[in-house]
């Protein structure tokens, strides 16, 4: 049981990382990873929607007819996204200002619908919660690791604090879309290299 929990929570980190390995949801990752604070906010919003949608669908999975599952998934995800939007507007206006235009993107974020289709619609509630948390963790780590590099190189700051003083000339390219592609490509390359090395080591044992 314990190993199962651990496995469900950690598989999103590397083995099934939604961004680096499954290459899903890249659109939102590219758009939001401009600054660390945006990435954190997006991760929180994403976790909220993923976990709640996975739980709801896992509870209802016996009452969802097979031929209707996609429209029902979309209705449920879209409802949670809209609820989240109201909550942000009402209680976190500054986060809403930064993230407001990206929140609707969560509806069409293929990671969520992918997890629901392949996991939550078949597995019990507890497993689905863990799966949602694990995937969100993997998404968060991916988007944060990209945002940290982009904010430091492209803006010379981290969480808004200046790192190098005024003499530092930031490479603006990194906060523009090409920089996002570069950073994401390099990080995927590093991860592939490391995991290949690890699996070769395992094989030679």
């Amino acid at each position: 049981m314990k190993t199962k929990i651990k496995q469900l929570l950690t598989k999103g980190l590397l083995k099934e990382n939604p961004v680096f390995v499954l290459m899903l949801g890249l659109c939102s990752v590219l758009a939001v990873s401009v600054s660390v604070i945006n990435a954190l906010g997006m991760t929180l919003a994403f976790t909220f929607v993923t976990v709640l949608s996975e739980v709801t669908i896992s509870v209802l999975r016996k009452w969802i007819p097979k031929s209707l599952r996609i429209p029902i998934f979309i209705v449920i995800i879209a409802s949670f996204v809209t609820i989240l939007q109201f909550l942000l507007q009402a209680y976190f206006p500054s986060l809403n200002k930064a993230l407001g235009i990206f929140i609707p993107l969560i509806v069409v974020n293929c990671i969520i619908i992918g997890r629901i289709e392949s996991f939550a619609s078949k597995k019990p509630v507890f497993d689905s919660i863990l799966d949602g948390l694990g995937i969100s963790l993997g998404y968060g780590i991916a988007i944060l690791s990209i945002a940290i590099v982009r904010e430091i190189l492209g803006n010379g700051t981290i969480l808004g604090y200046s790192l190098f003083g005024t003499s530092f000339e930031p490479a603006l390219m990194f906060i523009l879309p090409p920089g996002a592609f570069l950073v994401i490509g390099i990080e995927i390359g590093i991860i592939n290299h490391v995991s290949k090395k690890a699996s070769r080591k395992e094989a030679s044992k």
């Binding site: 758009a31 429209p71 029902i72 879209a78 409802s79 609820i83 209680y91 235009i101 990206f102």
Partner: protein, 203 residues
């Protein structure tokens, strides 16, 4: 066989409607709970924008008519442009600094809610965007200073035409046009319909 099929379609239809009804209920409950708070935040955002336009002003009063109704409230100027309301900005000595015109114009992704200061000498003081839902990376640059600063100090009689006296945001002509036209048409309307807008301070 045929009856079976009809029955199946009806069952599916009912199931899907049930899910939609429940989702709609959940949304309407959240909406009604959060609405007062959202309106409060919007009011705050408007006040902050007004402060950034006239930092010297200490009071902003809504302009009302004789029956205490806000003037120009929800006044439709054309299909896409609506006036919301007008405020007077005054400093400590109660001197009228200018008028603040709040309105909205339909952009690419939805209404762009703007507020701008209208100085007594018929120039635009500065523009601030309160709310918009333009495309990130393109139209969303409407909030950037390098675009908004172009409106600073413009005469109300200027053309406000994109690609003539307004440099549009790269690849976002619709958004740029929406804001320029919104400002031009609303300011023209206000100038034509408000008589008190004459130099009150001289009296």
């Amino acid at each position: 066989m045929k009856q079976n099929q009809t029955k199946q379609i009806v069952t599916l239809g009912i199931t899907l409607s049930l899910y939609c009804i429940i989702a709609a209920l959940a949304l309407s409950v959240t909406y009604s709970v959060t609405l007062p708070q959202i309106q409060l935040q919007q009011k705050k955002a408007t006040e902050e924008s007004m402060k950034s336009i006239y930092p010297d002003a200490i009071s902003f009063t809504l302009c009302t008519d004789n029956e205490q109704n806000p003037i120009f409230h929800n006044q439709v100027i054309d299909n896409c442009i609506t006036l919301d309301c007008i405020y007077e900005g005054r400093d400590q000595t109660n001197l009228l600094l200018g008028y603040l015109v709040k309105g909205s114009s339909l952009g690419y992704g939805g209404p762009i809610v703007f507020i701008y200061g209208l100085d007594l000498d018929d120039t635009i003081h500065s523009v601030s965007i309160i709310e918009h839902s333009e495309t990130p990376g393109l139209g969303a640059n409407v909030i950037k200073d390098h675009f908004l600063n172009q409106f600073k100090g413009k005469l109300t009689s200027d053309a406000f035409l994109v690609k003539q006296d307004i440099t549009p945001i790269t690849a976002s002509t619709i958004t740029s046009k929406a804001l320029s036209e919104g400002i031009k048409k609303s300011v023209t309307y206000v100038r034509e319909n408000i008589t008190e807008l004459t130099n009150e301070n001289e009296n």
